[in-house]
Every structure is written in C-alpha cells, then in structure tokens.
Symmetry: C2
Subunit: 372 residues, 2 copies
Amino acid sequence: MAIRYELIHEDKHSGARLGILHTPHGSFETPIFMPVGTQATVKTLSSQEVMEASDGLILGNTYHLWCQPGDEIVKAHGGIRGFMNWDGALLTDSGGYQVFSLADMRNITEEGVTFKHHTNGSKLYLTPEKAIEIQNNLGADIIMSFDECPPFHADYDYMKASVERTIRWAKRGKDVHQFPESQALFGIVQGGPFKDLRKMCIEELKKIDFPGYSIGGLSVGESKEDMYEMLQFLKDEMPKDKPRYLMGVGSPDDLIMGVLNGIDMFDCVLPSRIARHGSAMTSQGKIVIKNKIYETDMESLDPECDCFVCKNHTRSYLRHLFKGKEILGQRLVTYHNLYFLKNLMKQVRNAIRNDCLLEFKEEFFLKYYGQK
Amino acid sequence: MAIRYELIHEDKHSGARLGILHTPHGSFETPIFMPVGTQATVKTLSSQEVMEASDGLILGNTYHLWCQPGDEIVKAHGGIRGFMNWDGALLTDSGGYQVFSLADMRNITEEGVTFKHHTNGSKLYLTPEKAIEIQNNLGADIIMSFDECPPFHADYDYMKASVERTIRWAKRGKDVHQFPESQALFGIVQGGPFKDLRKMCIEELKKIDFPGYSIGGLSVGESKEDMYEMLQFLKDEMPKDKPRYLMGVGSPDDLIMGVLNGIDMFDCVLPSRIARHGSAMTSQGKIVIKNKIYETDMESLDPECDCFVCKNHTRSYLRHLFKGKEILGQRLVTYHNLYFLKNLMKQVRNAIRNDCLLEFKEEFFLKYYGQK
C-alpha cells in the first residue's frame, strides 16, 4: 500500500481526528493543509520556500500539467517532484474539477468528457483511464479518481445519474492504475446536497475499496450552512480507518469547521491567491496591506508570527512593494499566508490532542473574525 | 571619509585596475557590477537572494524612492538598508537620469528642474540641494551629484552650457551634503561626445574634490564604437586614486571593455530586465529560454554555472514556467543572470591579477558572442 493512515486521537468533545498520514515521501500529522502548486510551482515561491511554509505535502493540478508542459515531459523528470525539485510529498487531483469549472462546451458520455481548452480553445478529451494514466506519469504519492463535479444545485435526477457514473468511473480508474504500491488512489464522494446520494456514493466506493476518500462538490458556491450541514452528515458515514480529504477548502473558518467534522486533509488556492492581491491572514484577522493606513506602519505583518517575512519586513515596506507593483510583495505575502495556515493547523492539531478544539475555535473566531 | 579606494594591481598589458573599495558596509574588490534595486527591491528577488547573486553592493534609484514611498518613510526605517532589510552596501543615483529619460515637460533653470511624474503626471521639482537631501535620507554609502544627462548628440553649445551647469550643481550639492563621513558623494562627468568638455568637466570636478567620479551620458543610445572611444579617452584623464563608476552599463562586452579602460564600478538593469523576458546569460551566450527547442531539454540553464538555479532546475522546467506565465520563472532567471555577472566580474578580476585580461576578453567574446 502506498499510504497508511494512523488515527492517533479523537477530540473527546468534538470527535475531530488527530492522525498520521504515512506516504512514500514522508509522514504527516493530520489534519493538514496542502498548498496548491497548480503548474508545478506554488505561485511566486521556490520549492525551498514552500517547504518552509508548508508541512511538506502539496498539490499539483493534473489538468494544467497535462496541457502544459504535458505529462510525458514531467515523467521524464521523474514526475512532479523532479520537475519542480520538490523534496516533499505530493497529491494530484483528477482534472475533473477543471473540466467542469474552467472548460466550455463540455460533452459528457459514459466513456468520458470532450471539452475545450480553457485558454486556447483546442478540443480535449479525458476519460477515467486517461486521467489515471496522466497521474501515473505525474507520479504523485496520492492521486484522484476522475469524477464529474456537477453544480451543487443540479436537480436530483441529474445528480443521481452523475453520481452513479462517477462511481463507475472510479472503478474504471482503479482497474487501470499502474502503481498502487507507490501512488494511493482516492475515491471521490459526490452527490451535491442530497444525503442519500452521498451515502450511496460512499457505500459503493467502499465496495471498490480505496486507501482514502475525498469529498468533492463542496465549497463550489453553496452557502457555508449547506456545506457545514453536509460535512456533519458525512462525518459519521465516511470510513474511520482511512484519510478524509475535503477538496478546495482553505479559509480559516472552513478549515476549523472541516476538522470539527472529521476532515483530515485540505487544499485550496485561497491563501496564495489573496496574497497576490495583497490580502494577508494575520492573528487579528485579514488585512489589506495596500491600504493607506499601512503607509508608515513599522509593525510586522503579523506581530504574533515568527515567519521569515514577519521577522524581516515592516508593513510599510510591504505596502510600498504593492504600491510599486513589485513581485516581491506578492512573494512575501504568499509566503506569510501559507505559513499562517501551517501554524493554524499546528494549533488545531494541538487543540485536538488536548481535547479543546471547541474552545480553540471560539477563541480563534473571536480574534480573527470578531465573532464566535 | 566614507569610502577609500585602494589600487591593488594594474594589468600589465591593458592597464585595467584591480582594487578594493572600502565602504561603511563592507569592502569590495573592484571592478564590480552592482545590480539595480530601483524601488528598494531587485525585481523578483529577496534581499537574501540578492546577497547570494551579487558581491554585496547594489544600487537604489533616488527618483523612484522619492516618489514612492517618499524618502522620509525610507529614513524612518534607517534608510534603504533597513527598509529592504539589506545587509550589504548601497549606492544611490541622483535622480538626474530619470528626470531626463522618464519625465515629460521638463523645464531646466539654473536653480533646478521642473518636470512631470512619469506615470501620474503630477508636477515635480528637483534641485541639486533637494537631490542630496533625499539621498541623505535614503542613507546609501555612495551617493551622486545631481546632473543633467543630455542626449549624446546634443549640439556643442548646448552641451557646454549643460556641463558647466552640472559642475555648478555638483558644487552646490557638495555644499549641502550632511554626512560626508558616512556617505561618499561622487561627481558625475558629462560632456557627451566632446572630449574637451569631458576633460574640462573632470578638471573642474577635481577642483571641487570628490571621493569618487562617475561617468554619465554614456550607454544612452550612442554606438558602442562611440562609447568605447570616449572610455579610452577618459582612461587617462580620470583621477587614478579614486574609484571610477560607469553608470548604466551591464552587457558582458561593455563590462569587459569598460574594465579594459580603467572602470571600477558598473550598474545596469539589463541582466534583471532581460531575465524577466526570459533571456538568460550563459557561458555559451544568451539563450531565450521560452523557445520551443528547450521544451524537453534536461540540461541546466548553463552547464558551467554552479548557481542555485543551475544546480536545481532543468531548462525544460524553466521553459515551462515562462510558457505558463509563472513568476518563479522570472525569479529564477533573474537570480541566474545576476550570478552570471557576479562570476564574470570575478573572472575579470582574476585575469587582471594575472595580467591576462586581453586574452580573457578574446576567449570570452569567442565563446559568448561567437567572435573576437
């Protein structure tokens, strides 16, 4: 088996899970947040910086790397790790989400999906088998089944047919997966807001038997209440002995609510994307560093943070870099935001260890959002 | 005195100078190339990276920092060093070049220059005294007199009047300079293509007495032959006991030709600017990394280079980053290009030490440009 999940402790009051995820390229305490390196680079950062500002497990995007430079070129480097010179562990998504979020003109059949490239308009074709073949070439430690990610509010009949097809696709993917001993293939739970479909999906995926399970089709535009309600439902339905990965979630509130509902793994572009627009996550909440009030602010970005950026630069300097449209500004805030989430997840894990995640949540929400 | 220049050795065959420039923030072997950190950042790089990829002496632009964030804010950080967290030495230009290259609608009087901001169009006013006051606030180890930098092919009468004014401006600047013990103020030699004006300028500046002399008004669009001819003339006219700084020069051929004509210091945006457009300086000449031929090239950017980028990444990966419009590509090539020039200047200094700079020049030109 490529990976092994070890459940260390459940928070007595919330049931949040503290665990260890053993992979071919390192063991990682969970819950864990994984920064996104879409094109084999976490935007603006070097691999060394990503190592410092993460726990050592990051995500690459199958769709993007398939389109550019092509998975064969990545394979020639020994996979994404060699391609980007990354000395940690990796996870790739299946490309399914990009097909449904970026591409126009998609045509879904039982066999696969035809769609247009998100920028150059060229015609592309992905099948469950092709998605696994690409991921075998990209060589990540954890890979994903090809799934359909329908809109959250698609009607029941559409969703039911889609989930059933996603299950068949998961089976087809597993059947062609070449390296189960070095790459752990996860099944993806879909079903939108329909609990019976979610439950059916889990049951069927369990029969196929995967070393881990992802939750897809959440954080796709539905309300936070809808998402949290579904997470609460899924908490008792998901297999306890396998890692649970909530895809595309990365805001502090959603991370904590996810953990409270038994999630072990998260990824999101949010911390790096908002950083490039000058928003920094700090212990006192989000700040927009470009604002005039920071022009003469000699304080560090986050006085409670001990990251490289907070140790070496003032808000005034960071504000100047954004005013001057300097790339270094984007770099430094990206680094800090990732470090902030790394540190948040460490605090979350300690809170689980001490059975006080509910208290931690209240304190954090009050400090970060000004409300409980 | 803020700085001291120590002449160590003159190449027996060319007269090129090997020296040591002692500054309040480090001693540097010369000839030296100084990367440009226009807005208190060498574009795309952290201060730590600049330290690795340079000899520890860089340039900041007075005009840009005066406009944004303002020299008072930089002063509040203890100068540019504190503002950008730079642990090396610094030089600032006078703003004169930007007034004449970037600004529209300038009006020059004996008192100073009125002109418009290069992007927002606001009205600005600089005088020799103001340029020094700003540079006193920016706190660099070496600062420049405010000069007029006229077009190389301005007519003789205009150039004569301009040079005479530049000399008067140099005197006025020296008179108001607050920190001669910690900031060395250089005079700037102007005069375009007219040798008598250049000579007159040097003589007059020597009378005012500066700890170093810059050569301005070259590399401003004239032919290389014109530039080299003037450098050869200036070689015997410039004071031997003071550092000689050729402003705005940074291509490998111009650096070597400058050194052969007795220049000790250079700065230029060239290596970092072409890097951001994907051009890399290598031991075999310049390569455009975005080109299709590098798509599957598993070689390092420059097989003879031992920099961080060349040790860790393939041309294929760098090409991918540029194709994918990833900032990391600009970062990595910028780092490499600066490192390349750092290494080139080291080789140049060793050649002077061994009295073989002329041979080195022939070999280098053949390898880099394919001709002698």
